[in-house]
C-alpha cells in the first residue's frame, strides 16, 4: 500500500510534466492545425542550452531561463524559416518536414556534444519525503508540480484575460474573419509557435533530470508520451491535455514500479491503441471522427 501511494504521488509529478509537454502540442495544433513532430528534438536542443548555461554560471535558474528563451527563439526560427514555406495541400507535408527538423537538430547535437548520456543537476533533492511513515513526493516533485501549476495559470490568464490571447484564439478558430477584423493572423501563428516551443523547453528541463539524463535522443520517448497524452485528452483540449497527462503519468509510474521500467513504452503503446480503437476522438472531444 505504501509502495502504491508512493508510485501514485510520483506518477502525478511525472504526469504534470507530460501534461505541459502535451499542452505545447495542443498550442500549435490549435494555432496551425499541425502536430509538431519536431517538438521533442527542439526541447532536447534547448535543454542543452540550459545545461551549458548552468555549467558556465553555476546557477540553475539562469539555465532554466536561458532554455525558455532559446525555446522561444527556436520556435520563431523553425516557423519563419521552415514550416511557413511548406505547401499545405496535404497535412503529411508538414509532418515530414518536421521530421527533417528532428534529424537536423539531433545530428547537430550529436556532432557538438556526442551521443553519451550526461547527468543533469537540480537544486532540490530527489529523495522522497516521509509523511506518517509513507514515502510520498520528493522536494523536486513538489517544485515540478508548483512550477507546472504556475505555468498553467499564466497560460490560462494569457488566453482568457488578455487582448493578445483573444487575438490568438480568434486567428486559430476563424482565420479569414479575424483577418478581415484586422487581426495579424500570420503574426499570431508565429507567436503560437514561439509560445509552444518555450513551453516545451520548460517541460523538458523539468523532466530530463528525472530520466536517464541529457542525450540528443532523450526526448524521443517523451514526445511519444506527450503525443499519447494529447490523443487521450483530445488535441483540441487544453483541459484534456492536463487530465491526460496525469492519467499517463500515473499509469507509467505504476507500470514502472510493479512491472519494470522496460515495459513503460509498451504500456503507452497499448493505451494508445486502445484509445484509438475505442474512442479515437479522445476522451474530451465531442467530434465523431478525427480528421487532420
Amino acid at each position: 500500500m505504501d509502495h502504491f501511494l508512493h508510485l501514485l504521488s510520483s506518477g502525478l509529478a511525472r504526469g504534470a510534466v507530460f501534461a505541459v509537454f502535451a499542452l505545447a502540442l495542443v498550442l500549435i495544433w490549435r494555432a496551425a492545425r499541425i502536430v509538431n513532430f519536431a517538438q521533442g528534438a527542439m526541447a532536447a536542443a534547448t535543454t542543452y542550452v540550459a545545461f551549458a548555461v548552468t555549467a558556465a554560471t553555476g546557477n540553475y535558474w539562469l539555465g532554466l531561463a536561458a532554455a525558455v528563451l532559446a525555446g522561444a527563439l527556436l520556435g520563431l526560427v523553425v516557423e519563419r524559416g521552415v514550416m511557413r514555406h511548406v505547401a499545405r495541400q496535404s497535412p503529411l507535408n508538414s509532418v515530414i518536414v518536421a521530421l527533417g527538423v528532428v534529424m537536423v537538430l539531433q545530428a547537430v547535437l550529436g556532432i557538438a556534444f556526442g551521443n553519451d548520456y550526461t547527468p543533469m543537476r537540480v537544486p532540490f533533492s530527489m529523495e522522497p519525503l516521509w509523511v506518517g511513515g509513507v514515502p510520498l513526493l520528493s522536494p523536486y516533485d513538489l517544485y515540478v508540480i508548483g512550477a507546472v501549476a504556475m505555468l498553467l495559470l499564466a497560460l490560462g490568464l494569457l488566453f482568457t484575460r488578455t487582448a493578445v490571447g483573444l487575438r490568438m484564439r480568434a486567428a486559430a478558430f476563424a482565420p479569414e474573419t479575424s483577418r478581415l477584423l484586422g487581426v495579424p493572423v500570420s503574426r499570431m501563428l508565429t507567436l503560437g509557435w514561439t509560445l509552444s516551443a518555450a513551453v516545451g523547453a520548460f517541460a523538458a528541463v523539468l523532466v530530463i533530470p528525472t530520466e536517464l539524463g541529457l542525450n540528443p535522443h532523450a526526448t524521443d520517448t517523451l514526445f511519444v508520451y506527450a503525443f499519447t497524452v494529447a490523443i487521450v485528452g483530445g488535441l483540441d483540449s487544453p483541459v484534456g491535455a492536463a487530465v491526460g497527462g496525469l492519467v499517463v503519468g500515473v499509469l507509467l509510474s505504476l507500470v514502472t514500479g510493479y512491472l519494470g521500467s522496460t515495459l513503460a513504452p509498451i504500456a503507452v503503446l497499448v493505451l494508445l491503441v486502445v484509445v484509438l480503437l475505442v474512442r479515437p476522438a479522445g476522451i474530451f472531444s465531442a467530434r465523431q471522427v478525427r480528421q487532420a
Partner: protein
C-alpha cells in the same frame, strides 16, 4: 491505364496485357541484375543485397505514403518483425535438422506473415485516422521495439540481438558463386517480387481505389468503396513488403538486433521515399540506393577531414543524419516530387520539340498523361 483504352480501340491486333508485360520486364531486370552481381567484388555484392532489402521496404512505404496518403514512421518496426520472424523460424528449423530450400523459404514466409499481421493490427487501429495521428501511433510502435526485445530477451536476444543460423548457397553452386553473390541473388529476387506485386496493385483497380480513398474518403464511400477495408489492406500489403525486406536483411546479415531498426532508421526510410518521389516505385529504388551510398560517402568524407579523433567519432553517423535531414526539408519545400519526378519532367521537356501537336489541340489533362507514359506512345508510333 491509358494503355488499356488504346488496346481496346485496336482490338484487331493482340498485344500483351500490362501484367504480362510487367512480368516480362521484371524477369528481364532480375536476370540482368543477377548477371551484374557476378562482376562485383564481394563487399559490393553485399551492398547490392542490402540495397535490394531496403528496396522492399521503401517500395512498400512509397505505396502507403504516396498512393495511400498514410504516413508510417513504423516501417523499421515492421522490418524488425520480418527479421525476428525469419530468425526465430530459421533457428528452429536448424535445431530440428531441417536443411535445403525449406530452411530459406519458410523463414522468409514467416517473416512476411509476422510483419503483415502487425501491419493489419496497426492498419485497423489507424483506419479511422489520417495524417499525424497514424504517424504518431506508428512512432510509438518503433520507439517500443527495444522495450519489446529486452522484455522477451530470452527468445529475442535483448539488446545484443538474435544470431541466426541460415541456409547457405546450394552445394552445386559453391565453386562458381561467392557467398555474397548468392545473398545478393536472394535479395534481388525478393525485391523483384515486391516490385512486381506492388506495380500491379498500383496500376490496377486496387491502385485507383487506394488513391480515391486518399483524395476524398466521402466520395470514395459514395462510389461504393469500402474505405476501411482499402486502408487496412494497403497498410497490410505495405507491411508485408517491409517484412520481406527485414527478413532478407536478416538473411544477409545473419543477425536481428533492435539497434538496426531504430526510429532514426524509420526516418531514413521516409527520407528515401521522399527523395525518390512519393508514390513512385522507381523512386523507391533511388531512395534505397541513397540509403546505402550516402552513409558510405559521408564516412569517407569524415575519414579524409583533418579533425580530431573525438570529433571524427561524433561526425561518424551523425553527418549522414544531418545530410538526410537537410535533404528532406529542402526537397519537401522545393521539389516534393523527388528524383523520379524531376526525371519524368526532364523526359517530357525532351519530348516536346520532337512531337508537335497534330491537328486539334488535345485536352491538357489526358494529353500530358499519355506523353509521359512511354507504353502508351508505342502504338501511335508503329
Amino acid at each position: 491505364m491509358s494503355a488499356h483504352s488504346r488496346i481496346d480501340a485496336r482490338a484487331a491486333r493482340w498485344r500483351p496485357g500490362p501484367t504480362l508485360r510487367r512480368l516480362a520486364l521484371t524477369v528481364l531486370g532480375l536476370a540482368l541484375a543477377i548477371t551484374a552481381t557476378l562482376a562485383l567484388e564481394p563487399y559490393r555484392a553485399y551492398q547490392a543485397a542490402v540495397v535490394a532489402a531496403y528496396l522492399c521496404a521503401t517500395a512498400g512505404l512509397t505505396l502507403l505514403v504516396g498512393r495511400g496518403g498514410q504516413l508510417s514512421l513504423g516501417h523499421a518496426a515492421l522490418m524488425a518483425a520480418g527479421a525476428y520472424g525469419f530468425g526465430l523460424t530459421s533457428n528452429a528449423l536448424s535445431a530440428a535438422d531441417v536443411a535445403g530450400p525449406v530452411r530459406l523459404l519458410v523463414p522468409l514466409a514467416v517473416g512476411v506473415a509476422s510483419a503483415a499481421a502487425l501491419g493489419a493490427l496497426l492498419g485497423a487501429a489507424g483506419a479511422r485516422l489520417r495524417g499525424p495521428y497514424l504517424a504518431g501511433l506508428t512512432l510509438a510502435v518503433v520507439v517500443a521495439v527495444p522495450a519489446i526485445t529486452s522484455t522477451f530477451s530470452r527468445t529475442l536476444g535483448g539488446d545484443r540481438g538474435l544470431w541466426i543460423e541460415i541456409e547457405r548457397r546450394p552445394e552445386a553452386l559453391r565453386p562458381y558463386v561467392g557467398a555474397e553473390q548468392w545473398q545478393a541473388w536472394v535479395a534481388l529476387a525478393a525485391a523483384a517480387l515486391v516490385l512486381f506485386v506492388l506495380g500491379n496493385v498500383g496500376s490496377g483497380s486496387a491502385g485507383r481505389q487506394i488513391a480515391a480513398v486518399r483524395d476524398d474518403e466521402a466520395a470514395a464511400r459514395l462510389a461504393g468503396i469500402d474505405v476501411t477495408r482499402v486502408k487496412v489492406a494497403t497498410f497490410t500489403l505495405s507491411a508485408a513488403a517491409a517484412g520481406l525486406g527485414g527478413a532478407v536483411l536478416a538473411y544477409v546479415t545473419q543477425i536481428a538486433n533492435p539497434g538496426a531498426y531504430s526510429l532514426v532508421f524509420s526516418l531514413f526510410l521516409v527520407v528515401a521515399v521522399v527523395v525518390g518521389g512519393l508514390g513512385s516505385l522507381a523512386g523507391a529504388f533511388w531512395g534505397a540506393l541513397l540509403l546505402v551510398a550516402l552513409p558510405e560517402l559521408t564516412s569517407s568524407v569524415t575519414d579524409a577531414l583533418p579533425v580530431s579523433a573525438g570529433l571524427a567519432q561524433r561526425l561518424d553517423g551523425n553527418l549522414a543524419v544531418l545530410v538526410f535531414g537537410v535533404l528532406l526539408i529542402v526537397l519537401m519545400i522545393a521539389a516534393p516530387r523527388g528524383i523520379q519526378g524531376a526525371l519524368t519532367a526532364a523526359r517530357r521537356r525532351d519530348m516536346r520539340p520532337r512531337r508537335p501537336a497534330r491537328g486539334a489541340t488535345p485536352a491538357p489533362g489526358p494529353a500530358a498523361q499519355t506523353q509521359g507514359d512511354p507504353a502508351a506512345r508505342a502504338p501511335t508510333a508503329g
